[in-house]
Amino acid sequence: MIQWLDILSSKVFNSVDEVIVALKNEGYFADRALATSVFLALKLKRPLLLEGEPGVGKTELSKALARSLERVLLRLQCYDGLEQREAMYEWNYTAQLLHVKVAQGDDQDSVLKEIYQRRYLISRPLLQAIECSKPGAVLLIDEIDRADEPFEAYLLEYLAEYQITIPELGTIQAQTTPITILTSNRTRELNDAIKRRCLYHWLDYPSRKRELEILQVMLPNAPEKLTAQIALFISRLRESSVREQFTRVPGIAESIEWAKALIAMDTLIIDPEIVHDTAGILFKQRDDISSLNDQLVTDLLTPEII
């Protein structure tokens, strides 16, 4: 009876369309291909590896998914030098030493057994995800490409079996399969062993229409003409002919930030002058800012002929 109640209470998606709608309700506009990947990751209980340029919404997807499924979001931010004890578990050595002090005079073997108990184990995101009670958790392993290559090996058992083996305690298996999303900016190629265990999706820059929808949802008070002009400007920047001139073109995050800045400056229509004044929001490289010359800005701002 309890199990049935659990099943009924936990949110599930029955089709790709349901995923699109659920994410849209949380303010995330997923295209059909992305929604299909998410749907399959949920149904096949496989981790999802998202790759893409920075600022295209990889991390936001995990947040929106966690909200829509009413699950806890656990985040493991990867960095150079990340170790197993920061990602999986760590023994509370201070408490263990105190235990040893208190147990002075006891049998050495029994003391050794006592200090390796569950209560002296500190859970880190991976173990937390495994131990999370129903409806489970969404685990975001963010920017995995920033972590050292050997660290990937620690993840293999978790990604394949949703379990962690602690030599002193044994294997801990997930009661509810956590939804796992890995993101990478492709600064380096990930190990094949990781990729084999995951579903893969390349998250591209959104289409102009989708970007306009995102801007309208994120900034409901923004003038329609302004958001349309921003979407047009950004989409033209991302066109292959223009794109080559820049090290990195703005992502969705940058276009939202730009829109916020333009609203804060009471802008109604974008002109070349304001583009130059606010170029630092769109581009983070000095060369990119200088590449944005007057002629290019004028071309990008030219209204469409309908």
Binding site: S15, V16, R32, A33, L34, T36, S37, F39, L40, A41, K43, L44, R46, L49, E51, D80, W91, Y93, Q96, L97, V100, K101, A103, Q104, G105, D106, Q108, V111, L112, I115, R186, E189, D192, K195, R196, C198, L199, Y200, H201, W202
Partner: protein, 220 residues
């Protein structure tokens, strides 16, 4: 038995997926049997009538590299041909307006992988004895590739590029580790060793041990 996937007794989908997997392998995308099984499972979960959903599902399951995206899409288009192709061909016979061609350059790798597959099937042992003489002028591999367009390389040319790229000597010496400078900060505490020793001495006194510094693998 009529299912969502059609007649499951004929096993058409299985055959098609296996063939598609073999073609992908031929173009250099690694596909193992697990991926084929998983892609079959994935197709059963989505609406198979939606061509783009199938494409996204197969891509998600089979492909693991950004570089393989274009080849996968080309091969998908070639292998799972548009069911409305006949109508489109009929439409071509009608008078039409002159439009700008929006077709991008197709990748030869995908087309060639299917051609290889077909010729292998057609050429049986009958043609095994056939000797062909190629009297055309030949160039060295590097000369052939000097003016080649990377986006339209054939499967064999692609392998050639890979082999040549492997032969290029690296300008910089290979650094085996990033940690090549000893930190000024003292090494970390070896808690496990401290704990073991403390349990032996019953916690009195607690000896402090430090982790050994990692050996530097750099040659500098």
């Amino acid at each position: 038995m009529q299912t969502q996937l059609g007649d499951s007794r004929s096993g058409k989908l299985n055959e098609n997926l296996l063939g598609f997997g073999r073609a992908l392998r031929r173009v250099g995308i690694p596909v193992d049997s697990l991926k084929i099984a998983l892609s079959l499972q994935a197709l059963q979960l989505i609406d198979i009538k939606e061509r783009e959903d199938c494409r996204a599902a197969l891509f998600s399951v089979i492909v693991g590299r950004y570089q393989d995206r274009q080849v996968f899409n080309d091969l998908f288009d070639l292998y799972f041909k548009d069911p409305n192709l006949e109508n489109k061909l009929l439409g071509l016979m009608l008078p039409r307006n002159q439009e700008k061609s929006t077709h991008r350059k197709k990748n030869n790798r995908a087309r060639e992988s299917l051609q290889l597959f077909n010729t292998k099937q057609l050429n049986g042992p009958k043609n095994a004895q056939k000797i062909e003489l190629d009297a055309s002028m030949t160039f060295s591999d590097s000369d052939r590739l000097k003016n080649a367009d990377f986006n339209t390389l054939s499967h064999i040319e692609y392998q050639l590029v890979e082999n040549l790229a492997r032969q290029i000597p690296l300008y910089f010496p290979k650094i085996l580790s990033r940690r090549y400078q000893v930190s000024n900060v003292g090494s970390k505490l070896a808690f496990q060793k401290i704990l073991q020793q403390a349990s032996r001495l019953e916690g009195d006194p607690i000896q402090i041990f430090r982790q050994l510094r990692k050996k530097t693998l750099c040659r500098y």
